[in-house]
Assembly symmetry: none
Homo-oligomer: 401 residues x 2
Amino acid sequence: MDYLALMKEISRPSPTKIVLIVIDGLGGLPNPETGKTELESAHTPNLDTLVTVGECGLADPIAPGITPGSAPGHLALFGYDPISCNIGRGVLEAIGIDVELQPGDVAARGNFCTVDKKGLVTDRRAGRISTEKCTELCRLLDGMSIDDVKILVYPVREHRFVAVFRGSNLVADVTESDPQQTGVAPLSITALNPKAAKLADAANKFAAQAKEILAEQHPANMVMLRGFSRQPDLPTMSEIYKLRPLAIAIYPMYRGLARLVGMDIARTGTTLEDEFTTLGQNYKDYDFFFLHIKWTDSAGEDGDFGRKVDILEQIDRALPDVVNMEPDVLVITGDHSTPAVLSGHSWHPVPLLICSKYCQPDGVRAFSEPAFLQGGLGRLNATQIMPLAMANALKLNKFGA
Amino acid sequence: MDYLALMKEISRPSPTKIVLIVIDGLGGLPNPETGKTELESAHTPNLDTLVTVGECGLADPIAPGITPGSAPGHLALFGYDPISCNIGRGVLEAIGIDVELQPGDVAARGNFCTVDKKGLVTDRRAGRISTEKCTELCRLLDGMSIDDVKILVYPVREHRFVAVFRGSNLVADVTESDPQQTGVAPLSITALNPKAAKLADAANKFAAQAKEILAEQHPANMVMLRGFSRQPDLPTMSEIYKLRPLAIAIYPMYRGLARLVGMDIARTGTTLEDEFTTLGQNYKDYDFFFLHIKWTDSAGEDGDFGRKVDILEQIDRALPDVVNMEPDVLVITGDHSTPAVLSGHSWHPVPLLICSKYCQPDGVRAFSEPAFLQGGLGRLNATQIMPLAMANALKLNKFGA
């Protein structure tokens, strides 16, 4: 079933408001010492109270067994099929540093690297030069024109940068120049289909000119490019759901993903309180809010069980700020699980709570993975969350007569 | 979603080991006298202990309501869509007697039958001749050449045999010669599309020559053919999952199904202990093991509730042999249910247990159908078992960045 097409057909504008709080990496696994997950270990009285009035379940961002990256995890939450809407590495890297891509742009990930006199790679990361040095070198390369293609170069961190190729008829279907090993020269970039010849040519010429420009910049005396990609041409959330959506996120990656699906992006600060304040300030002007909380994922990635528990408790303490705005629908979930015991994203389903006036009681009394197994929403796919939120906000017409 | 394509994209080789134990016909229904299923009736302390450390669920081999044969039941367990990968009867029959088909072969099921002087069928099973007689007659027909097509004939049991047509450009899209009734002549085999004309011609000539050869062999004086099929061209499990898979199965059908998906086939004995010993002997050389246990299904098919319970208890007693090998992932499930009260395969979902270090606790304490209703894996499709096993073995990369 094409869920998005159905949403587009039956959605209707209304004054009701939906708040989607994404606690990044929310789900976890038991601490071997206690047998309890991060959520079971955390003292979360406000979440536990919400559970009693809402409906709970467990959501697979992609499918059972599949560990999602942040991009597919979020696209699924916004209702988009995360497989067919997969986003290339270059675009993701650009999004992650707040580069606003234009339609038709091709973005690539770049590395500064070291080559010897014969042009063979001796260090794929150029000794991990400082971000300051990277910024300085990007300035040397930025703005090059090759035929009608303009190349914009943005520093990321250490040896990493983003190259955006802007011009007509650029097709991203090209090979990479990073040989993934030392002792060989960077590879020539070749078109994987005839339409991509123009981009391949521009990319090779860019690399050749970069080599000249960087000749005296040892160790960062060459560049390698990979992950050439164009941003997918997605229908916006306004088109699909007839919503006015606002994104509140501290990290650029999540703002970028929200921008991809047509959300407005709020200026906010650097703390959870800042994000909730931003929500309040914009509350009357929008009817859908995506609020992203990053730190749970970071703690999970660091394998820091205790810190993840602490952050969950902080979120719980701040939660009344949102509840008191009395959104018609409050959704609390994650884009994937990040169990501290795995120190990374995982395939485990993500706890999902939907609160509205129209929830069926399900008897769950605690916000945790094991408790949510008994939830009224059961086990569902994350792309089904938006339809449920829309339904609970009474923003969907009946299908069929 | 094309799960196999996704697996192929994100799977990675690793030293971790997966053991998939398929207890054929595992699921059951309550004995009307006790109200307990076979699994609830069996004393299975080892399974019950595994349940406390693993995650449980109920798997539909094809879909709710659909009773699978052994072939789709197993293909689903190996992660292949059992509908689109359906295997023809002729190929299945060949596989079931350990015939190794070559690419391009067409296999058909054959019956010896009795015809009268007018050529009309009087007995579709030739009085169920003995398997010895069948073997003798197959020898008379085996090795015939018709143009460039060679026809190999293998006895199965009683009046049943397999005919393998080996030659270039054989398309299996032909009608059958068995009229499914007496009093009429065997039907002429016709091509259902022009490319199948060559096979139809060879099959008709084979039948005509067989009639001459068997003229004096009353009651088995004619043959009928049906189920013409080619083996599907499936990607191997090594290609998809980057595994080195080994099959341990006592019955040829299951070895054949494993061979279809590219598993190596172990030599083993005739008992469960033999199979577990074979597993141990090969344990260091492979990273995926499919171990098939047949007798539960046979007892279920015979409607023998007590015997099925006994066999489940035998399996439970032997299980520590496998557990002590400490596989990274242990999966215990079935290819379908075979409730003794139905004396046959059924549509009921099959108990599924996955054990690894990365299981979310689900509170289930017994290995049975009703207990597994509360399992953390919920209700899932059997094709999702391999992705979950791969994930738990940390053999999958993240999807998307």
